[in-house]
Amino acid sequence: MKKLLLTALLSTLSAASAATLVFGGNGEPVSLEPGNITDGISILVQRQIYDTLVDFEDGTTDLKPGLATKWTPNANNTAWTFTLRKGVRFHDGTAMNADAIVFNLSRWWDKAHPYSFRDQGRTFEIVGELLGGYKGDATAVIKNIVKVNDSTVRIDLNKPSSVLPNVLAAGYFGIASPTAIKKEGAKYGTPASKPVGTGPFVFQSWRTGDRVTLLPNKLYWGEKAKVDQLIIRSIKDASQRLNELKAGTIDFANDLTPDSLKSVQADKNLVAVKRPSFNVGFLSLNNRNQYLKNEKVRQAISMAINKKEIVNAFWNGLGISNASFVPPVMAWANSSKVPADYKFDPAAAKKMLADAGYPNGISLDLWYMPVSRPYFPNPKPIAEAIAADLSAIGVKVNLKTEDWAKYLEDRNKEPGFDMYMIGWTGDYGDPDNFYGAYYGSNASDDINWNPSTVETLLQQGRAAPTQAAKAKIYQQLHEMTYNAAYRIPMVHSNPLAAARTYVKGWVPSPLGSEAFNSVSVPGKK
């Protein structure tokens, strides 16, 4: 017994002297296999284990070198050449080289690749979404992936794209060790396997439903981790994440609700951390509806909603409202011809509705999401506020909701919802990721509007040779979408995070996850 107690005491002492960094995540990763996930917490854990070809500067969506030190397009943006960093090794000791890059990209993109494990239900759906399709598809962006030499890879494209490096920088596309994938086979990425990357942290263990434990990569090519251990815990409930922060059982956490800001600020052990905004929460108006197909009605609705007041009331200052579909960090894509803010003018809106032929008002359904998202943390009361504003101009609103899986499905089914709330958080720093996803040929079916003109502009945007040319195209899209008022941006929110005061060096990325190698806990007891 004495010996046991002594061991226990010693283990407590040694644990206390090691710096452990504990992050409270909003759930468990789905998988630690890159390319095959889309959820935030999987990406966050993967960011620690894997590097991407291209990376983002801290706290921004600007590109910086990752595993590639240089990336250059050919003259018409139809081929990109990536020069790889030399001397980088995977955590298992194998070399990161052109073969490894080609292996990773190919298994995502090529359905016939022997290590894509498609027969096991792997979908790599994000590749289809961000890169237009898979090998052989008519719509696919990528035509071919070529090893030029040991440290050079070229990606040939079916159509010009200026955003390929931005896409490949997204957190989905971490580069994994081919040796590890071949060894683990189809179970690669599950809790029973050992994911291997080149990143700042090395995988140690994944306890199902509970936590992932990582150790620093002592041989990391970049900034080395400043803690002895990183634990990413799964805490689904937002109020429980706040409780854990207050109790000091975790050091920092994401995705707190905006109404917990006061509670965080009142606690002298905590600091509130506002993630830069990279999302849009919006109200979508369905042009299949007899009233909403009239542009004046849509503009009247937009003008009747006091967006600024709603954002102040429900986001606690953690967000802004403006008249742009893209977040403020990409303000260069906004046209000066569009007012900075949507006009709020109930009297003018009422007159506009009357001019459109509805002096006695109309009646519409408004669907609100049954789930909380950073862009709509509390959808029901927000919907009630919108309904109140609209009733002031004679639009009678029936509030509706349903289960999330059904909601996502029904909005795309005939006749769709009249008006509904939804939003989007970006994957990479380009307006294409916003306009393309909600106005292009890949957009959901609830608006049927000018697809050819918009698609042409989107194509031009992707092919634009210079930033200036690109800005011009997106400014045009901004004007078009503003006037059409099919999707009315309500908010660009700052997701709320918080940390214990001793946590140093945490620079949150607008994209929702960042590597924790710069974070230290000097004063942690």
């Binding site: 046991l4 107690l5 061991t7 226990a8 283990s11 407590t12 644990a15 206390a16 452990t20 504990v22 468990e28 789905v30 998988s31 296999e33 095959n36 889309t38 498609r118 096991q120 239900g121 792997r122 979908t123 759906e125 289809g128 979404e129 189809a186 990425g189 599950t190 809790p191 029973a192 306890r207 199902t208 439903g209 509970d210 936590r211 634990i231 815990r233 799964s234 805490i235 689904k236 409930d237 429980q240 409780n243 854990e244 207050k246 109790a247 059982t249 289960d403 999330w404 899986a405 059904k406 909601y407 996502l408 499905e409 795309n412 939804i422 939003g423 890949n442 957009a443 959901s444 079916d445």
Partner: protein, 342 residues
Amino acid sequence: MGSYLIRRLLRTVLVMLGISLVVFVFVRSIPGDPAVAMLGERATPEAAAALREQLGLNKPWFLNPSNPLDAQYPKYMNALLRGDLGTGIKSNIPVLDDLKARFPATAELSVAALLFALLVGMPAGILAALRRNSFWDNLATTISLLGVSMPVFWLGLLLSYFFAVKLGWLPPSARLGSETDLQPMTGFYVLDGLLRGQPAASWDALRHLILPAIALGTIPLAIIARITRSSMLDVLGQDYVRTARAKGLTQRAVTVKHALRNALLPVVTVIGLQAGALLGGAVLTETIFSWPGIGSWVYEAISQRDYPIIQGGVIFAALVVSVANLIVDLSYAALDPRIQYS
């Protein structure tokens, strides 16, 4: 007794097969399809259709005329009979692996909750019955009324906030602290700590267990206290108790030997029924307390329409409830010699 057991087991197997069919049809009848749920905000009809095809969800449920084995149910049953519960749609993890990893967590929590409910609820009920209409009786009745009407998630958050954040006595959630490293053996962490010679880990696990066990055990506690009280009152009014008293036995002997043993029968029934209720309550408790059990896992799967996980989870829960009921029935015979199975 032996043939009774065999008949009961056979019936359990039939029930399980029935449940597998019901749950198969049921999950597919809930509106909202897994492909769309997986894609989330990105879901477009084209993307969903492509994903559905890749996942094999576009196949007929029961009968594919051109290839009878290439329908969803025959494939599912074929695998199920070989002990394969399928693979989670989103995670690519075999459902059985997840069950094995998560069930011990739910079991440990349920056992702790049931122990808490029994150790507090039974004495409270007995006391209330013996001191009928006294202060203690009123207190027990009031508390049990509060207990059954308290929403579990609210009680859980309240407990966590008060005891962890305000007082700092216990950890707010999870099964182990961040500093504790314990390699599971049985999956019951309190036990594993002792088995591995890490008493500190056992202590840590126990501290983490207290609040969720109280949250989960409160409703069963209230029910057990009420049943014990009324059953005890019932028995205390019986002739044989009066006879025992008349024979000059002490109050203690009458209570323990004659009344309690007979009063326990309905309590045991309730405990059996509570096995199902505990699994249901675990959904909320596990979510609030970040408890990596099957409750929160199946709950998540339902919102994601992850068919294999829902099916596996429900079949497994049904199995647990069946076994619990079997144990209850068998323990009747042990408690009451008049009951015989043949």
